[in-house]
Amino acid sequence: MNIKRNYFSRFGTFAITIFVAVSLGCSGQQMGSGNGTTSSSGTIKIAGTGSTFVKPIMDKWGSEYGKINPNIQIDYSGTGSGAGIKGIQNRTVDFGGSDAAMTDDEMKQTTGGEIVHLPVVLGAVVLTYNLPDVKEPLKLTPELISDIYLGKIRKWNDPKLKAENANLNLPDTDITPVFRADGSGTSDIITDYLSKTVPEWKEKVGRTKNPQLPQGIGIGAKGNEGVMGQVKNTPNTIGYVELAFAKANNLPAAQIKNKAGNFVTADSSTVSKAAAAFTDKMADDLRFEITNADGPEAYPISGTVFMLVYKDQQDAVKGKALVDFLWWAINDGEKFVVDLHYAPLPDTLVQKVDAKILSITSGGKPLRQ
């Protein structure tokens, strides 16, 4: 046996011993830490998953809230609204995020009883595109969006597109639409809007979190980030994302023709105007949508992000922390909203959401008075 090999065998044994010892040590420590909601340092971890539409503001809120309450960790991962709904149904997370309200069917398939919908912020779904030579914003009607995503308009210089955009120098290139491959609330918002405005869309695709387009239309991507990444990387693409993603990447957002017949730019105020048109008509369980709103300045593809929370929380400590965070986000966290190009909830809605938060209990006892 030569020296090298001898050295190596000792090294190997040593490495394995260390691995095993350290790992067992860690798992032992974990077992000792009780139910895991609080660690030895008193940190409370709240796990959430879902909507990528809301990810930028959730990250901001989590980070700002952590500065005020260093022992509370709001751990939100963007996996798509569909995954947020599944996460809360299966109770693998403490709260779900979705920009589509749960359907009645989905509400029935829960493992922890009644789910409360808490709207936290409003936002715009924009059509963003990668046409480096087009400087002025593109103008789109619902019919044009539908035609592009159904493959009836396949070139950027299609006469139908040119008719609304005579001022633009649209190139003679193929359009590549980008859509969501995962179950998405953002898809739900835009398909809801197109179903309300374009009969052909309603018939062929309809309102859904999983839209299926005709063959050979485009590229599927995961999450708002994925769609935005694909549009950013690939010339001649068009995709639908939350406004914050387009703004943060310096990519344009098309102006959309609203119900009143005006082309409207998406921003906080036009989204607020869309919500204002609906405040009187909101259902008591707050499951509502604000697409295709009335009003001359309302942005028509606006949406709401809901936090999905069980009405009766299993764990009082975690439940309390969650409820306090949501309260803070809606009442104090609104100041970060406009900077990230979302829109705050209308005051009347904030009151309704506050009332919902107060109704959340643990073991029958309200978590916040």
Partner: protein, 309 residues
């Protein structure tokens, strides 16, 4: 003394037996879980699930064909690229290169297999996709554009990009197996051919011919790797369930639809359809790996076959 030693033997053997059996139990559990979870679609659609081409979860239309098509075509594409190159490398390493050069080159090619899938995906998005969009794609379209497979939009994201990434990923595996297979061919064959006046290449052809079934095994093994590859493919293939003649168009594979939709499939039938596809993928990889093992064993013997599967 004698008694305690038999007891020791029994305990030792039982522990080892339990460990070995755990592998069996894991595979059985995985298989059982998949069969059970895919019952709803198995009962509702039967075998027709495999060649139904409509995929629309919101309307409860579940056809696996676009995903099977994408998986098969991207894997075949990968083989078409990787197999000739792997054969070339293996022949170079075994038949031609002096040991001093062969060793480091062989090692570097093995390192390609050590690079994680997600890293190939990252590289694919930022290096390979733009390269195909700006250079390779236009060249192919200008010269071979009359072929349907090279028509259509050039986005850099699609079947071809997925196939090329897969080819890079399976090249080291195919190369390694072919190398072992060639090394197992007795030297007397080479000497005989050379003595009869054959050139080095002609000798190589004879060796390759005699190792044919082992090489086939290497190819099948490469296929097994390609069909199950997930992350790198999902990052560049475009995730669109369609059957398109063009290699530039987006496609979808079974593994990538699992990655994209398993986390949000709430509906029972939807989840079941996804898991049934996982079951298909599982069975296919089992068959492929078994076949590869048999083929390689027939040439290189037991030891080598076990080394690679």
């Amino acid at each position: 003394m004698a008694q305690s030693s038999t007891l020791g033997d029994k305990v030792y053997r039982t522990i080892l037996f339990a460990a070995a059996t755990s592998i069996l139990l894991i595979v059985a559990a995985v298989f059982y879980m998949m069969v059970q979870s895919s019952m709803p679609t198995l009962q509702r659609f039967g075998i027709g699930f495999l060649w139904a081409s409509e995929w629309n979860p919101s309307q409860e239309l579940f056809g696996a064909l676009p995903f099977i098509y994408g998986t098969v075509v991207s894997s075949i594409l990968a083989l078409l690229i990787a197999v000739p190159i792997s054969l070339g490398i293996a022949v170079f390493l075994v038949e031609q290169a002096p040991k001093k050069i062969a060793k480091p080159i062989a090692f570097m090619i093995e390192l390609l297999a050590a690079i994680p899938s997600v890293v190939y995906g990252l590289w694919g998005i930022f290096v390979l996709a733009p390269f195909i969009r700006e250079y390779l794609g236009p060249v192919l379209q200008d010269n071979l554009g009359f072929l349907p497979i090279f028509q259509g939009r050039l986005t850099g994201i699609g079947m071809l990009t997925g196939g090329i990434i897969l080819a890079i990923m399976i090249t080291p595996i195919v190369t390694a197996v072919v190398r072992d297979v060639l090394e197992a061919v007795p030297n007397t064959q080479r000497e005989a051919a050379l003595a009869l006046g054959a050139t080095k290449w002609e000798t190589t052809m004879i060796v390759l011919g005699n190792a044919a079934s082992g090489i086939a095994g290497a190819v099948v093994l490469g296929l097994g790797r390609a069909v199950g590859e997930t992350m790198a493919v999902t990052m560049v293939i475009g995730n669109s369930p369609q059957i398109s003649a063009s290699l530039f168009e987006p496609a979808y594979t079974i593994a990538s639809v699992l990655a994209a939709n398993f986390a949000d499939a709430t509906d029972e039938l939807y989840l079941s359809a996804l898991i049934e596809m996982a079951l298909v993928l599982f069975l296919v990889t089992v068959v492929i790996n078994g076949l590869a093992k048999l083929l390689i064993m027939s040439v290189a013997g037991r030891a080598n076959a076990s080394k690679h599967t």
